[in-house]
């Protein structure tokens, strides 16, 4: 299994693109490497092997320009479809929940708005490096940074977004299965960059609510 098992709704779509590209590039890889090997062996210099005085062939050149161009065009269209779905705000699903990440050297400050739905009020729930998400509901993750660029990366969600100081960013995720997944910082941020590790727990909505309540009580 080359890729970790997806845990988000758009994960499989990203993976599908990956496999399509792997098939296409794999095909050309074997064809070209094969030709290289074949030609070097078949046309190696030996007595009587004379080279052909050929400068080119217009038709062949047109074909091997147009066909790759068409393939790449198809890949672009297929990729754009998935990209728009994940990234374009007008296609983002209506989020059931909001969560905010404030990244700093070297920890993820996670904050939930609490029952009043507003960030920055007394009922906010804060953790360090611990994020919980409900399964089956789209969540909007607002990302900010306090000091330098960090990047929020959860491999199983197939999500990555830089946390940029002075530039709030956001992603949406809908988890498809319960589990525990690592948050890895994906932008060099200093000596603790390798250790900026968080944990996302995805769970049924009731457990998620219970966790919020419990975390608030323990504050």
């Amino acid at each position: 299994m080359l890729l970790p098992e997806s845990a988000s709704t758009y994960g499989p779509k990203v993976d599908q693109l990956f496999w399509i590209i792997l098939w296409i590039t794999g095909f050309f890889f074997f064809v070209v490497q094969g030709c290289l090997l074949l030609f070097v062996l078949k046309y190696r210099n030996r007595p009587g092997q004379k080279a052909a005085y050929v400068h080119g062939n217009n038709w062949v050149e047109i074909v091997w320009t147009v066909i790759p161009a068409l393939i790449l065009l198809a890949l672009t269209i297929a990729s754009q479809k998935v990209w728009a779905e994940i990234r374009y705000p007008k296609y983002a699903p209506l989020a059931s929940f909001q969560v905010e990440i404030l990244a700093e050297q070297f920890a993820w400050n996670i904050r939930y708005p609490g029952p009043d739905g507003q960030f920055g009020t007394a009922d906010d729930i804060s953790t360090i490096n611990q994020m919980h998400l409900p399964v089956g509901m789209p969540v909007q993750i607002n990302i900010r940074s306090k000091d330098v660029i960090h990047s929020f990366f959860v491999p199983e969600f197939r999500v990555k977004q830089d946390a940029v100081p002075g530039l709030p960013t956001r992603v949406w995720v809908e988890a498809t299965r319960p589990g525990q997944f690592e948050i890895r910082c994906a932008e060099l941020c200093g000596l603790g960059h390798y250790r900026m590790r968080g944990l996302v727990t995805t769970e049924p909505i009731a457990d998620f609510q219970a966790w919020l309540t419990e975390t608030k009580a323990n504050e």
Binding site: I128, Y194, N218
Partner: protein, 252 residues
């Protein structure tokens, strides 16, 4: 004839006694000029306690869950240490001589050790002399970086990724309240007082402190708490005297 001889012997005996006495007095005076000897001779103790009045806010709970290695070390809740009070007594207050000392005090060879254990600094507040070695130890199986945001002294920020790693640093300027933090575990905090002399102490859980061995004299003693500020008072001690003083901070 005999009385003259007797007189001479008497004079010799007296001369001998006088000579011995002089030597002893001279020796004592000479000895008195060495500071250590004066301290032993002085034997002063300034001790007391630091208390707090008013409503001390409840300390925040530390989010040890942020790092599994930290959470494992603490089955019970751990509280922040910015104001630690119990029974009206303040812990982690730095008490030190601010004014009144003369002479120089070479740094001891023994290092001060600050240990990162269970994702907390031990001790939370400490005093150290200019030029004395500070040994920073990581006793946890997780990354700590010792980030010293000193003002008068040089800042440093060093990672200790492996358990058992030791880093040694010294300060070359006196400075009060030098902050230490760890970026990986944002709640970790320690404060240091760097002094050019060895006359300082940190209050224990019952708010008690004791500064021994000051030469007789008049001194300004200051108590500093990282959130509640500093308070000072003048104290005069004579040789061999024990003085009790107390400080009281008002919680804000």
């Amino acid at each position: 004839m005999y009385p003259v001889l007797l007189f001479k012997e008497e004079m010799m005996k007296r001369g001998l006694k006088f000579g011995c006495l002089s030597v002893m007095v001279l020796a004592l005076v000479a000895a008195g000029n060495r500071p250590q000897e004066a301290a032993a001779a002085g034997g002063t103790v300034i001790s007391g306690s630091v208390s707090v009045t008013g409503n001390v806010p409840a300390p925040a709970k530390i989010k040890m869950a942020a790092d599994p290695a930290c959470a494992q070390a603490h089955p019970d809740a751990v509280m922040a240490q910015d104001i630690v009070a119990s029974g009206g007594k303040l812990r982690w207050v730095l008490v030190y001589v601010k004014e009144g000392l003369t002479g120089s005090f070479p740094a001891p060879a023994e290092p001060v050790v600050i240990n990162q254990t269970g994702c907390m600094y031990e001790p939370h507040v400490f005093g150290i002399q200019v030029g004395q070695k500070l040994e920073i130890v990581n006793s946890d199986s997780t990354l700590h970086n010792i980030n010293c945001q000193a003002n008068t002294n040089k800042k440093f920020n060093i990672a200790q990724p492996v358990k058992g790693m030791k880093t040694t640093k010294t300060f070359d300027q006196p400075e009060l309240g030098v902050p230490f933090k760890c970026n990986v575990h944002p709640w970790m905090s320690a404060r240091a007082g760097v002094f050019s002399h060895p006359f300082f102490a940190v209050t224990d859980a019952s708010g008690a402190f004791s500064i021994k061995g000051l030469p007789a004299g008049t001194y300004t003693i200051e108590a500093w708490q990282e959130k509640l500020g500093a308070q000072s008072q003048k104290v005069t001690v004579a040789d061999g005297e024990t003085k009790e003083i107390s400080f009281s901070f008002a919680a804000k």
